[in-house]
Amino acid sequence: MMMLRSWGALLRREYLEHRVAFLYFPLGVMGILLLAALSGLGINRVKVVVGMTLPAGLKLFELGYIALVGLWFSYLALALFFYFGDAFSADRRNNAMLFWKSMPVSDLRILAGKFLAGIVLFPVIIALVAAITGVMHYALVSAATMLMPGLIVPVFPLEALASFAQITLLMLVHLGLGLLWYAPFFAWVAGLSAVFGRWSLPLAFAIPGLIAVVENVALFGTGPRGGYVWSYISQRFQFGLTDVDYTRMFTAGSPFEAGPYILSLWHAFDGVSVVTGLLFAAAIIWLASEYRRRRLA
């Protein structure tokens, strides 16, 4: 029981330290978006080009929600990159290392807690924010259909709810699989931060880039285009829906269904690569914890 409480406390500690980036700032952005939309509707500043065919209200809601999810995903990726670029050295930078060392928690557990916060807790918060933004978007589209009768076909609540659930389902699956896929990259950045602090951000790219250059020089370009290292890294950075999926998403006339897109993601999900990547991430976290155990300041 104490062990569970202790894990919870470590996650909460990360939340408290980074709540501005992962909760307050997103909520602030959401508030500004809401204000902007409400003021636009309230003072009738919405301009519609005469003759332009607006999609049905449901489609407008679906596309808007998908776009918002995409924006939140982009923010999450960026925020996590910066979070991991500092996470494993933050206690040293904040001069709090000696305090945490006085607690009955191993260095491995502290770093694992930081990694879990980044890979689970913060994405869950952003997913919740994205879902709330979706609800807000529905309310705004509904308001627009009332303000501009005839221009936009009204959205029926049950239809919208079904679409909301489908898009949210796809968002969660995409987020979960994506985080598993990119976990080794985040661990790599975090591991470098244990040694180099915030220099881990450029080094995360510079080190593999240098290795790729050395490999190309050593092999005289006899390997695959760009070299084995570069090819592997390029392949590891490709995960997600295809252009065909997005085209279908934007052009489909029927209400949104998550199933085909989840299947597409599942086909792109290489289980062996993911397991290898997770083992790599675990090894990096262990090495970083041993470094932290040995180096006090």
């Binding site: 409480r5 909460r12 000696l98 006085s102």
Partner: protein
């Protein structure tokens, strides 16, 4: 006889080619208040770090029956320490800090911690980064005193604090924390301020222990005499361990010389800890 709380044998520590600790040997029994005193760079903090599992070392260190470097996390259930009062996480509020520590530390009592803060200026809602250095020291002391630990280690806990805070800090420690079951190890440069509370003293010089003794025995062993000019030759014949001139008078410190023999030379007193520190820690050929 019960096992010592801390047992150190042949403790060495190297930083690169330089050896910082040269094979320290000592035991610390339970229920004592130890002072570890030394110059800057003498090896005090490195010794404490070895005992707390914060650094690797040569030789053998056992704290509460465990190797601290291998089992630091487990050991910290029964050991509390303040290595730097400025090390509290600055992004937390006081009550958030207490809640986190309560969830992490099985021997921490939130009620006690809040109790220790009563009468101070530290408020529960205060963000730690907004606290003054004195308040940080009080808060950190409240945290460690609320931990039911068997060994408390304080490394320069009052560094940078004014005299009021320092006195309050030590009084609190003695009145609210120390019991017969608890052991306290403390390092500080303000040796006179902790002299009254110490049961044992260790002087460390250049990585070696030069004195390790109960305070009662120290008072019996060392004597200080203000020697008049006409008795200087006789006093020097008794081999003082230290000699200096203060306001035109020669003051000598003797080690193990019977007080009856010294009485004929002048007024015999027991040297204060700071006098003894100067006497024993001065390197040969240097002027204190």
């Amino acid at each position: 006889m019960t096992d010592p709380i801390v047992s150190v044998r042949g403790l060495t520590k190297r930083f690169g080619a330089r050896e910082i600790l040269h094979g320290l040997d000592f035991d610390i029994p339970a229920g004592r208040i130890y002072g570890l005193i030394g110059h800057n760079g003498a090896g005090k903090t490195t010794t404490l770090n070895a005992m707390l599992g914060l650094t690797s070392y040569g030789g053998s260190v056992t704290v509460l029956g465990r190797d601290p470097y291998r089992h630091r996390a487990r050991l910290m259930r029964d050991v509390a320490f303040i290595a730097d009062v400025a090390s509290l996480p600055r992004f937390l509020k006081v009550r958030e800090l207490f809640r986190l520590v309560a969830e992490i530390h099985p021997n921490f009592s939130t009620e006690k911690a809040f109790g220790f803060l009563e009468g101070t200026d530290v408020r529960q809602q205060a963000v730690i980064s907004s606290l003054s250095k004195g308040m940080l020291a009080q808060l950190h002391l409240a945290v460690v005193m609320a931990i039911d630990a068997r060994l408390l280690v304080l490394d320069e806990p009052t560094l940078g604090l004014d005299i009021t805070y320092r006195k309050r800090f030590y009084r609190r420690l003695l009145e609210d924390y120390m019991t017969a079951d608890r052991t306290l190890l403390i390092t500080t440069h303000q040796v006179d301020e902790i002299e009254f509370m110490l049961s044992d003293i260790m002087f460390i010089r250049d990585g070696s222990l030069v004195l390790h003794q109960p305070m009662v025995e120290v008072a019996q062993r060392f004597a200080q005499v203000v020697v008049p000019a006409d008795k200087l030759a006789a006093a020097t014949g008794l081999h003082p361990v230290f000699e200096e001139t203060r306001f035109g008078q020669t003051v000598m410190v003797f080690d193990g010389v019977p007080r009856e023999s010294l009485a004929a030379l002048g007024a015999v007193t027991t040297p204060t800890l700071s006098d003894l520190f100067v006497a024993l820690m001065s390197r040969p050929g240097t002027t204190p």
